[in-house]
Amino acid sequence: MSATHPGSGGYIVPTRDVASEELVLNMGPQHPATHGVLRVAVKTDGEVVLDCEPMVGNIHRCKEKIAENVTYVQFMPYTDRLDYLAAMNNEECYARAAEKLLGLKLPERIEYLRVIFAEAGRISSHLMSIGTYGLDVGAITPFLYCFREREEANHLFEKISGGRMLYHYMRIGGVARDPDDAWIQRLLQFLDQVEEKMDEYNTLMTWNKLFQERTMNIGVLSREKALAFGITGPALRASGIDWDCRRDDPYGIYDRFKWEVPVADGKHGTLGDCWNRHYIRALEMKQSISIVRQAIDKMPKANPDELPPPESPHKPFLAKGVPRSLQAPKGAEVYVRSENPRGELAFYMVSDGGKSPYRVKVRGPSFCNIALLPEVTRGYLLSDLVAIIGSIDIVLGEVDR
């Protein structure tokens, strides 16, 4: 007597005549594969996952409450700590949200710098997620290779912003510092290095048969489910949905660049499986490299009329006319989203005319993506659960906020 579990990944769950019990495993919050302090309560039958429930909130840091008590400028360093692996992208989104709320207009050079840094941040973040995904399925070496490249990105960001992980580089109405030519040259070298070394990750992971066995046809997320659960980012594109809000709902100056949005075509594995989610990230890195190169080519020099050089190295590089004390009009509200490495981050900000926002809501992509974990893991093995969590690529700083 045996039956396939409803919604299972094809594993046969025997229905026994003998009395047996389900095993409830408490995975996390200090489990090595939960990417932080996620706790997943897993109900298993042997090694087959019958059901699971992610329990979040272990590092809830009251970010939204804090935002109501600090000024617009002061909230910027806190946004670094949302998705701490892609701090540049968070800052970029928050800066745009605040600028839209305050009605500021940006000079060209700042717009280009935003794009360069956001895409470099995406490369840095994807390096991390690809590396840790290798760790999740047991390949330890690609993790260190990815870290080597990420280290270069850290050096670059440290050189320009002073921080290695939490940059606080974007400022409302500008950036912290204007990069010089030597820095740009180094950035180009970094891009070359990543492009060259990506073959190594692909050899050790993407095209490796064992890795494919572990990840292909696992955790299949169908188109319909992906849409219904509000999945965004690489996970959405891995399900075959051609959507990237940088291209389809362009913000900043993304409409000026030519690049392809990588979408899974189901040639390898199943549409929406773990392997596709991993591979989309690898392809996205290539596209980001291309965007950064285009932006560097096109970036204009700073026009001192609208973008005066800062008086001292301590002062941020701001557009002319950005007031020192920022105040938004009463009742103004914005909802600004940006394509983060993990999905669409959005800030919903409401102003009551004061110096600090009246309400800030952070829509973290990881928060929405992790909600579907029970849907995609039912019927797979315990090992697959780890692979699925890794492929969704969550950052708990953003889930718990």
Binding site: V73, Y78, G162, G163, H168, N208, K209, S312, P313
Partner: protein
């Protein structure tokens, strides 16, 4: 047929992986550095480490404390003749504490300073056993500041010509405020 193809794929990709790692085994040199002997270069201008602060140049305007998102800067100055906390060039700092268990190292305290007496420095190591070890009492000397800008340099020259450094040090000694900063 797929049986043999999968077998072949497995062998082929495994061999490719082994060739890659084997290449690293025979490669000369490594990417990482040996930490205590070698350290990574730190950019003097941009690095955001533990603050550097000049207690004598501080005018006690509290701009830095107001700009701080986490309220980790505590400022007090000695009262002047009128009994109010002294401000301006003559201010005598009785307290300038930064609580590094709270500090975000965001650097927002640096731009508003009119006398450029506070900036983020190169130090990054502040080990301690208690939370109180994380509080640095800058008014007792703290870390000497490195002048990065022309403005700061000119201010120091001004202070020297007016002999303000000497005056303030003497006054602090009179008031019994400990000064750990070595005499120049």
């Amino acid at each position: 047929m797929s049986y043999f193809k999968e077998l072949w794929d497995g062998i082929r990709t495994t061999a490719q992986g082994l060739r890659l790692t084997g290449g690293y085994l025979t490669k000369k040199g490594v990417y990482t550095i040996q930490y205590p002997e070698e350290t990574l270069p730190i950019d003097k201008v941009t690095h955001r480490g533990i603050h550097e602060y000049d207690v004598d140049r501080c005018i006690s305007c509290e701009n830095c404390a107001k700009a701080c998102p986490v309220d980790c800067i505590y400022i007090e100055s000695a009262p002047d003749e009128k009994g109010k906390p002294s401000k301006g060039k003559a201010a005598i700092m009785t307290r300038f504490d930064i609580d590094y268990s709270k500090c975000l190292f965001c650097g927002l305290c640096v731009p508003p300073c009119p006398s450029e007496c506070i900036q983020l420095g190169e130090r990054y190591s502040l080990p301690g056993h208690t939370r109180d070890d994380m509080v640095v009492h800058f008014h007792e000397g703290g870390y000497p500041i490195q002048e990065k800008t022309e403005h700061a340099k000119s201010m120091i020259a001004e202070f020297r010509t007016e002999n303000l450094y000497e005056k303030k040090r003497k006054e602090r000694a009179d008031r019994g405020i400990p000064t750990l900063r070595p005499a120049e």
